[in-house]
């Protein structure tokens, strides 16, 4: 399965008529690059393309049986991971759910280490013991890859607690899907984060489906950001397909966390272009092909590409080159993972307990 459709980012997109009705209100910011430099915009594009091409390789590897288990692709949501990671510091913390490849890449874990993990190899970022849903990396303060919906939201609050305990000024970013707002752990964590002034930024990636259940069928009030009010917390809702909107919103939340020591709840409106996991049909069961195609018009990579193209700062040739580089990095990750040794059998028994004390 591949998202290599006729709307690949490298193709020239139709120029938007200024009079055209806006799509999700995103075009209102059409001329606002959020204070970014052209160089930074290229970096953002490169990051998003890197995730896309990497995950297309994941789909291919899954089909060939090189990746096993559950494999949840992030394709369509890359503006969020890229936008958020571009606004935080290396000493900040990131924790996420099981759809974690994009965030791990955007955070700076090497594509080789991630692909090796997906292939179940010793060189993987979790040494082959975690797999797709449990990517971890101490070097980048990437606290996982968690597989129980909502279970890691209190853990994020605990990281925030530790920051406060040490009087640090880091933040903890916590990603989860919109379906997690209905689970108790979410509410327990938000309550304490606000009560105790913990520097945590809770990001709801609202891709509108919890597995195959549409938000309209699961959630009494679809305005999920409003749940912040129940906990006396700042809440915002932004277009998650627009990397500049993501960045602006995160900038405000980071400042609130660092200076006021206050948490924020942010809904990022997005859409997943693939199925829930690799075993799930892309469309046809719980959503229509038409709906999918309509949403793919707002491919976050396409949105950014078009704006850079319209601003005259990116030629088609440059875009092709960047895309080829992204593909080459993904292929290199595959080659590396494929050639890497499996974990030695005696590692079955290591890392169950630490033999250290304090």
């Amino acid at each position: 399965m591949s998202t290599e459709t006729k709307r690949t980012p490298s193709q020239k997109a139709p120029r938007k008529d200024k009079g055209e009705p806006s799509n999700n209100g995103a075009d209102a910011q059409q001329d606002d690059f959020g204070g970014t430099t052209p160089e930074l915009r290229r970096e953002l594009l490169r990051s998003m393309l890197g995730q896309r091409r990497f995950e297309e390789k994941c789909a291919e590897a899954y089909a060939l049986g090189k990746i096993g288990g559950f494999c949840h692709l992030y394709i369509g949501q890359e503006a969020i991971s890229t936008g958020v990671m571009s606004m935080i510091r290396p000493d900040d913390y990131v924790i996420t759910a099981y759809r974690d490849h994009g965030q791990a890449l955007a955070r700076g874990i090497s594509p080789r280490a991630i692909m090796a993990e997906l292939f179940g190899r010793e060189a993987g970022c979790s040494h082959g013991k975690g797999g797709s849903m449990h990517l971890f990396d101490a070097d980048t303060n990437f606290l996982g890859g968690h597989g129980i919906v909502g279970g890691h939201v209190p853990i994020a609050a605990g990281v925030g607690f530790a920051i406060k305990y040490r009087r640090g000024n880091q933040v903890c970013i916590c990603f989860f899907g919109e379906a997690a707002v209905n689970i108790g752990a979410f509410h327990e964590a938000l309550n304490m984060a606000s009560l105790w002034n913990l520097p945590v930024i809770f990001i709801i990636e609202n891709n509108r489906y919890g597995m195959g259940t549409a938000i309209s069928r699961s959630t009494a009030n679809e305005d999920v950001a409003i749940r912040a009010q129940g906990y006396r917390m700042d809440g915002e809702s932004v277009d998650g397909q627009d990397v500049f909107a993501v960045r602006k919103c995160i900038e405000r939340a980071v400042e609130r966390a660092r200076k006021e020591k206050r948490p924020t709840l942010i809904e990022m409106k997005t859409y997943r272009f693939m199925g829930h996991s690799m075993s799930d049909a892309v469309s046809g069961t719980y959503r229509t092909k038409e709906e999918l195609e309509e949403n793919m018009k707002r491919d976050p990579i396409l949105v950014l590409h078009n704006r850079m193209y319209e601003a005259g700062e990116l030629t088609e040739g440059e875009m092709h080159k960047m895309d080829d580089e992204a593909k080459a990095i993904a292929q290199d990750a595959w080659d590396f993972a494929d050639a890497s040794p499996e974990p030695p059998l005696d590692h079955l028994y290591t890392d169950v307990y630490s033999d250290t004390t304090s």
Binding site: C125, S126, A138, H152, G158, M192, T357
Partner: protein, 326 residues
């Protein structure tokens, strides 16, 4: 040696470790201003302040997860559950997060924390408040499960638990808090995973842990009057379990009874019996018997509750049976 209550021994352990390491903090319902639902944290708020002795809302899953997150980035939380019955709500964080993160991350993230609180039945608290959870928790690789039965072990094991770099489940007993025992004056640590032979005799091994240690000692006293001398093997830690201590005793006495507070099916005793049949098959002179709670939810009525619980009488009967004396 000083004579202390089990409660005061725990408080001493908490105080000493809070003084020793400023990464250690205590969190739970009513632990600070109220001084602890069972007064184990009495005086600690005054000494260490509200950042280290933290009252939480009634939100077991939430604050257990907060503990895991804090531990992941280097603090050493002690999470108190008012009782382990309430901790059932927090088990996702204990089992899926605390126990597995070190493994899932390929050894990158340790979870040095303690989950503690009273376990098992008290008096007439009925079905939802009278349950012993050790076999549930001991089932999980990644957790250590400690069940001290005496003040000295309570103090020494809690200090070891706090210093351990793994998630440790620490099971206390509501009915134990007021019990007294000798506790060394000087600093000491009780090693995790080492049983103690609390009474020595040649006729039968009585293997037990936690609150049932007191029952076992009474049984040993009663039987001694009849000329029957038993080993009382206090496991102290049910995961990891000291299989060698069990084997040593059974190889000497050739008979064993396993006494526990929880239910029969998949109880801790099942595991002990499994170790015995593997390690001591040729040493046994009779089948191993188990004494445990009757296979019913705990009733409220005094007479029914008494009948449901394991006790000295049932244990004496089991020992006489394995000795073919009944």
């Amino acid at each position: 040696m000083a004579v202390l209550t089990y409660r005061d021994a725990l408080t001493q352990a908490l105080r000493e470790e809070l003084q020793r390491d400023d990464r250690v903090f205590l969190m739970g319902e009513e632990v600070a201003q109220y001084n602890g639902a069972y007064k184990v944290s009495k005086g600690l708020l005054d000494e260490f302040g509200p950042m280290r002795i933290v009252d939480t809302p009634i939100t077991e899953l939430g604050f257990a997860g907060i503990g895991v997150g804090a531990a992941m980035v280097g603090l050493r939380p002690i999470v108190e559950f008012m009782t382990w019955n309430f901790a059932l709500l927090a088990l996702d964080e204990v089992v899926n997060a605390a126990a597995k993160t070190f493994y899932m991350s390929g050894g990158q993230f340790k979870i040095p924390m303690v989950f503690r609180g009273p376990n098992g039945a008290a008096l007439q608290l009925a079905a939802q408040h009278s349950q012993a959870w050790e076999s549930w928790l001991a089932h999980i690789p990644g957790l250590k499960v400690l069940t001290p039965g005496t003040p000295a072990d309570a103090k020494g094991l809690l200090k070891s638990a706090i210093r351990d770099d793994n998630p440790v489940v620490f099971l206390e007993g509501e009915m134990l808090y007021n019990t007294k025992g000798e506790v060394p004056e000087e600093e000491y640590l009780t090693p995790i995973g080492v049983a103690e032979l609390k009474r020595e005799g040649d006729h039968c091994s009585l293997i037990t842990h936690g609150k049932m240690v007191l029952v076992a000692m009474r049984v040993a006293d009663d039987l001694a009057k009849e000329g029957i001398n038993i080993d009382v093997v206090d496991l102290r830690t049910v995961r990891p379990m000291d299989v060698e201590a069990i084997s040593r005793s059974v190889q000497k006495t050739n008979r064993a009874v396993v006494l526990e507070e929880g239910w029969e099916i998949c109880g801790m005793g099942s595991q002990v019996v499994d170790f015995i049949q593997r390690e001591c098959f040729d040493d046994l002179d009779s089948p191993v018997l188990r004494v445990h709670q009757e296979d019913v939810p705990m009733p409220y009525a005094k007479n029914l509750e008494r009948a449901a619980k394991p006790d000295a009488g049932k244990t004496v009967a089991a020992i006489k049976k394995v000795m073919y004396l009944d």
